[in-house]
């Protein structure tokens, strides 16, 4: 997030797009409810009318995958009506002209048709956002899990820059991180192209610094493979071993049958987890890690706040903290690691990572620290890009043209399907479904379907249906609701026995390599 969560409370207009906030990030919803109490305006755009949409001053139920069109339409209105912050644009951004040329060519009636909205709705959204003193954008996986996910994000950046809603308190473009330590996993270099703190692997100086610190002659400087590329690498016999730590790609990744095939094929599959997940069941060796309650360490939340994880109980059975497992394997492999505690590891991280340079376990007592925090005296950074100072110098406008989703509905697969979370479960359900209270709350998966579509296939609430896409089929129970529009169905992805990712489309965004989990075409029939 560019800004802190608490700042949302003082925002004049909050624009939520592709985030089921009250369900997936309830404690962010808290701040939004408070802002509403103080008179803020709320605009929600989402193909599914989720709980937070109930509170919207303006709710836009746009078609799945039509985000860029909606955003371009809003920016067209802003430029046509002169609602932009020209002073901000002139002082802090680049490439505005090219962007403006594209937007000038946008036709509002066409936008309305493509999104399934009215011109009036798009105009109102633009006015609510652009006329506010401070406006914040909040988004989540509904924006990123598309073949054009990066375009979606860039469009949101355009929207914030065109109105000068960035670099000030209570503004910004705020992605809500889906999982607790996604931010940390990225910060720590859990990516094929960067080392810690986003230092590129291709940059000689960074590479040299790490090589020296780690006591090796050199480090690889070629960008590595992403998950989808590793999976296809297995099929092409380029990848022969895979070490999976605390992930469950069989349930979380699109086109599950294809993932299973790859994992069955790989010569060596090492899985480190706390439960015998569907992924672990395919492994050659399973290393029992332990949960957050059984070890020390740190997490980073969605607002870049680093806080401590502390050991409360001894590890179950002979399970070990994941850092101990990696250390022990590394030592057995012949690469020496001599750490006795996570704190020692953290000290090494801080030495090698400028944005973490001033952080130590001692300083994390109390409220934690929001990075960047380069020196021990630095107080941390609640919001990024202060006063229009972007990381890359000036904010860059991107002219983004609308590209439709990779897969569209047809006579055989006539319904749009989108996926998401329910409030009582988390991700692949590995932890939540092993919790008595949460399992009791929502014990099984379901498919949300509009009453008219349900009537068309002759099912009532609770009936079982077979759901098929071009990749596979599953069975589940229907829940009839007007939360979804006619022609759109929704399904949560936490349930391995009704694994919705057998259906989803693995086509991914060419840059971010995020699969299009949010849109695919399906057919539903009564069993």
């Amino acid at each position: 997030m560019t800004n802190g969560v608490a700042e949302l409370e003082n925002t004049d207009t909050i624009f939520i797009i592709g985030s089921n906030t009250a369900t997936a990030h309830p404690l962010v919803a808290t701040r939004i409810f408070r802002a509403l109490e103080k008179g803020a305006k709320l605009v929600v755009a989402d193909p599914r009318k989720n709980q937070i949409a109930e509170f919207a001053d303006l709710y836009l139920q746009h078609k799945p995958g039509s985000d860029v069109t909606l955003l371009n339409g809003m920016m067209k209105v802003i430029l046509d009506q002169g609602l932009q912050d020209q002073a901000f644009i002139d002082a802090n951004t680049e490439e505005f002209d090219g962007f403006k040329a594209l937007i000038d060519g946008v036709d509002l009636d066409a936008c309305a048709a493509a999104t399934g909205l009215t011109v009036d709705g798009i105009e109102q959204a633009a006015a609510l956002y652009a006329k506010a003193g401070t406006a914040s954008i909040v988004y989540c996986m509904g924006i990123t899990q598309h073949t054009n996910g990066v375009d979606n994000v860039k469009s949101l950046a355009n929207l914030s820059m065109v109105t000068g809603n960035i670099g000030r308190e209570s503004t910004g473009v705020n992605p809500l991180r889906g999982q607790n330590n996604v931010q940390g996993a990225c910060d720590m270099g859990g990516l094929p192209n960067v080392l810690t703190g986003y230092q590129p692997v291709t940059l000689g100086a960074a590479s040299k610094k790490f090589a020296d610190a780690w006591g090796v002659d050199e480090l690889p400087t070629q960008i590595g493979l992403t998950i989808p590329e590793m999976l296809s690498g297995i099929e092409e016999e380029k990848v022969h071993a895979l070490w999976v730590m605390g992930e469950n790609p069989v349930v979380s990744d699109p086109d599950a049958d294809h993932v299973v095939k790859a994992l069955e094929k790989v010569d060596l599959l090492i899985v480190q987890d706390i439960f015998l997940t569907p992924t672990a069941r395919l492994a050659d060796v399973v290393l029992p890690g332990c949960s957050f309650a059984e070890k020390d360490g740190t997490f980073v939340n969605t607002e870049r706040r680093i806080t401590r994880v502390r050991k409360a109980v001894e590890p179950v059975g002979e399970s070990k903290a994941d850092w101990e497992i990696i250390r022990d394997v590394s030592n057995a492999f012949g690469f020496e690691m001599a750490y006795d505690s996570p704190e020692e590891i953290f000290t090494e991280i801080a030495e090698l990572t400028p944005s973490y340079g001033g952080v130590s376990y001692g300083r994390l007592e109390g409220d934690g620290i929001q990075w960047p925090c380069p020196t021990p005296e630095h107080p941390g950074t609640p919001f990024l890009h202060k006063d229009g100072r972007f990381t890359r110098g000036k904010g860059l406008f991107h002219a983004i043209e609308y590209k439709g989703p990779a897969e569209v509905v047809d006579a055989e697969y006539p319904l749009w399907m989108t996926t998401g979370r329910v409030y009582a479960h988390y991700h692949t359900g590995t932890m939540t479904r092993n919790s008595v209270a949460l399992d009791r709350e929502i014990p099984e998966g379901f498919l949300e379907i509009h009453p008219e579509d349900a009537a068309a296939i002759g099912v009532c609430d609770g009936h079982r249906v077979r759901l098929a896409s071009r990749r596979g089929e599953i069975e589940t129970r229907v829940s009839i609701t007007e939360r979804v529009e006619k022609g759109v169905v929704f399904m949560p992805f936490h349930f391995e026995e009704a694994n919705v990712n057998k259906l989803t489309n693995p086509s991914f965004d060419p840059i971010a390599k995020i699969p299009e989990l949010k849109v695919c075409a399906v057919a539903v029939e009564k069993i």
């Binding site: 009250a22 369900t23 309830p26 408070r34 709980q51 409030y423």
Partner: protein, 265 residues
């Protein structure tokens, strides 16, 4: 005030009158519930006032119930404010704690807190430190009662629909201890995704708290959606008071009219 309490607790511990004292401690830059087992360890002891009075209160009675179930023969000391002690009386009455196994160590709340809470009894009977402060009037309930029914209905509906069904109001409540909770009973409250069933979920809880709630306000503070639950339960308590002459935990040994047969008092 805090020194008086520390001395008192140190005395109880050294004389072995209690196996441990359940209070609050300053650690990791925050305030945490803690079981003090000897006099020397009282260094970090705190009353739970951080930035403002009473802003770091915890459901110590709830932990006390857990401790007593595991160690039924032991006697524990526990830090109490007025509401907490009312809670203890209620838990004695409901057979969740045994009176002669609990030694309350009480202190009174400052006037500002008493007023903010609109508290009936801002001081415990077992007062070890502080003065008896005045009880306050139920202004917010009166204010709400002043609105017509339609506006009250709209107000509460708008509040309830914010609920994210965390069950925090129940989980934090020192007076909630049922093994089977009616909020999870599918015949009463529909299961499924959010929003929660309005107003059944919240009114079911209000009904269940009618003769239990001791107005500690912890549920209100735990609600992620800032639903004014305390106001709702205050109203319920007011009805119990005017119609049945009963206030939960106000007096020791008082029985609930809801668990008695026969005509009301």
């Amino acid at each position: 005030m805090i020194e008086t309490i520390k001395q008192h607790v140190a005395g109880l511990l050294t004389e072995k009158k209690i196996a441990g004292f359940l209070g609050l401690i300053e650690k990791n830059g925050h305030v945490a519930p803690h079981l003090f087992k000897d006099g020397e360890s009282l260094a970090g002891f705190t009353l739970g006032d951080r930035k403002t009075a009473g802003d770091a209160r915890y459901p110590l009675n709830k932990t006390l119930v857990t401790l007593s179930r595991a160690y039924p023969e032991e006697t524990f000391g526990v830090l109490v404010r007025g509401c907490d002690e009312r809670g203890l009386y209620g838990l004695f009455r409901l057979n969740q704690l045994t009176e002669d196994r609990v030694i309350p160590v009480g202190f009174s709340c400052p006037a500002e807190l008493s007023e903010a809470c609109e508290c009936r009894k801002p001081y415990p009977d077992s007062l070890v430190a502080g003065e008896k402060t005045e009880s306050s009037q139920l202004k917010k309930v009166a204010e709400m009662d002043g609105k017509d029914l339609a506006r009250r209905f709209d107000f509460w509906t708008a509040q309830f629909v914010k609920c994210v069904k965390c069950y925090g109001c129940r989980d934090v409540c020192p007076m909630c201890f049922c093994k089977e909770c009616s909020l999870e009973c599918e015949d009463l409250v529909a299961k499924g995704d959010l929003p929660v069933e309005v107003p059944v979920f919240h009114l079911t809880r209000a009904m269940h708290m009618a003769d239990r709630c001791v107005d500690c306000g912890l549920c209100d503070e735990a609600c992620p959606s800032d639903i004014p639950l305390r106001l709702l339960y205050k109203k319920t308590a007011q009805i119990m008071d005017t119609d049945y002459g009963f206030t939960s935990g106000l007096n020791k040994n008082e029985r609930s009219p809801l668990s008695q047969m026969g005509p009301a008092k």
